[in-house]
Amino acid sequence: MHIGNYRRRTEAVFLVFLFFLILCIARLFYIQFFRSRYLAGIAKKQQNLFVELEPVRGAIYDSNLKQQAVNIPVDSLYAVPNEIPQKDKEKIIAQLCPILNLERSFLAQRLGRDKSFIWLVRKLSYEQSQAVRRLNIKGLGFLKESKRSYPNSYLAAQVIGFAGLDNIGLEGLEIYDDKYLRGEAGWGIFLRDARQKRLDLWAKMVLPKDGYDLVLTIDETIQYIAERELDKAFEKYHAKGASIIVMDPHSGAILAMANRPTFDLNSYTKADKDRIRNRAICDLFEPGSVFKIVTASAVIEEKKVNETDRFFCENGSYRVANHILHDHTSHGWLSFREVIEQSSNIGTVKAAQILGPQLLYKYVKLFGFGSKTDIDLPGEIAGMIKPPSLWSKTSIGAVPMGQEVGVTALQLASAISVIANGGQLMKPYVVQEVRDKYGETIKKISPVVIRRAISEDTANRVKSILGGVVENGTGKMGKIPGISAGGKTGTAQKLEPNGAYSHNKFVGSFIGFAPLENPMVAIVVTLDEPRPYYFGGVVAAPVFKNVAGDVIKYLKSHQLAEGEMVIE
């Protein structure tokens, strides 16, 4: 071959290669400078996985740090309908129906969808999850979630409330303090392998901020005692509803609050609204004779009447404007102390007539009626009390004995605490502390004095009268063996839809405190439409007696135990 030809061919090959090299360089240049952002984005999507990190919802503890609401890990079952062959679906539905307790049609509809992810059941029980796992069905998968659970089932159900499927508070403290309990979600960008599986290697991560824990003023033991006794009365007297509040009169701390009918917090979806409602703060009722503590306090504070002043109780029948008042037992002359002890309507109204509507209204407001107590629970109502300008001529014969006013059980608890603690109206509260998961206090809630309603001297004098109610008066069934107590019974007729007072529907109630000298607890018990007995002194006073007796024994033993620990 001629050397010249060889050289030309070599040059041609070189030029061809050079051309392709230039093409490659140009392409690389294009990719690097014009397509890099787009391609890097695609690569990032393939390699990285953005995951939202769920915070742990705060727990709820009672005053002794016993768990009332916690989170437990559970499995949620999902399906990938696209991956399940059509012919297998019938068999899978037949296998899943008995385990999951679901309708066949529901599962058929879910698995029939043309989707790559669909929830079948969220938050399965451990047994259900294990049973489904054993079936080892292709196209079904589990995701871990946390479920809000309540170890005490029904204890303080309306106070604690519940959180929904997404751990968002729906009722009670779970919704009221959701801002503390919820926490803040975090996020992370995790690496994925070639099979798109998540690796625990992260490029970036912001840790979730777990929710804070709540420490309640409620004591599990006191709550249990209160619910146990309320249950007995609720069933014995076939009541439509019932409530009980146990309060520390000196601080306003709620030690127990319960309502009947109630529900299981772990299966709240099965409960109707009537059971979920916190009757103690949401239900309005005419208090009846328990309201006489306000009238008695007002006339004594204003020095219009003293305990020994005598009233003629008209032998059981007394006209006020065009309305005739009756006493449940006819009385002649009674001292004011006896008027309250025997719960004479006529004697109380005569004392209130000396006081006048303006002053009576002033004390009704001072005791906190007609306004919210601002307790840290949702759904509280203010109650109802008309200003004297709107009173009719018969109002002075009704308001002093608890008619024409609407109150809540909580307002009554606050009012009886005024007498028990020496005249101060305290703000009731159920959360005493907000703390983080390490036990550090974030917020401490201290007792709040709203106002002084009456002087200490008046409170002590009324306290002594209420002691007489339990010793000699209508509240004898509230007498606690070995412990002195004070209280007032109430039996209020309910209003019919036509506005008239019912003759067979009553609210029986008892408000009291014990021990008389230095009260440790103030208790309110109300029973709505009890049958066949309906007098507060018969249906509600025994509940007070049993609860106060056991609670005081418990509190004293608790104090003793704490004292011993200090000595050690």
Binding site: I72, N152, L155, L199, L201
Partner: protein, 122 residues
């Protein structure tokens, strides 16, 4: 650049690259192992929290109270005294009842002077 220098530089870069690749594969291998262990630990932790919750639930006053009131007639009396029983120093000299030595005929036809208390199962 001298060939020997070029070759040593190339060898160094190659070894360094291999080490880097090895390091990356090790990270992923360890990540997989860690992930498996973490999954196992998660299962154990989950079981632990479920168990603790169940203990808490079964030991709760609501549960215990329901069981006591549901299955027993026990009620705490209003007044009660705590007594302690001390072990006796000497064995009590308990005589066997005479009836146990008597035969069938004497038990049937005999006249007993003392009433015998017997337990009866309801």
């Amino acid at each position: 650049m001298k060939l020997s220098k070029f070759l040593s530089l190339a060898a160094f870069i190659t070894v360094f690259s291999l080490l880097y690749v090895y390091q990356q594969t090790e990270i992923f291998r360890l990540a997989y192992i860690g992930q498996k262990k973490l999954a196992f630990l998660d299962v154990l932790l989950d079981k632990n929290s479920v168990l603790r919750y169940n203990i808490e639930k079964n030991a709760s006053l609501a549960c215990l109270g329901d069981k006591i009131s549901g299955y027993a007639d026990f009620q705490m009396p209003d007044n009660y005294q705590l007594v302690s029983l001390l072990p006796a120093k000497k064995k009590a000299n308990l005589k066997k009842p005479a009836s146990s030595n008597t035969g069938l005929l004497s038990r049937v036809f005999g006249i007993k002077r003392q009433a015998e208390a017997r337990t009866i199962s309801p």
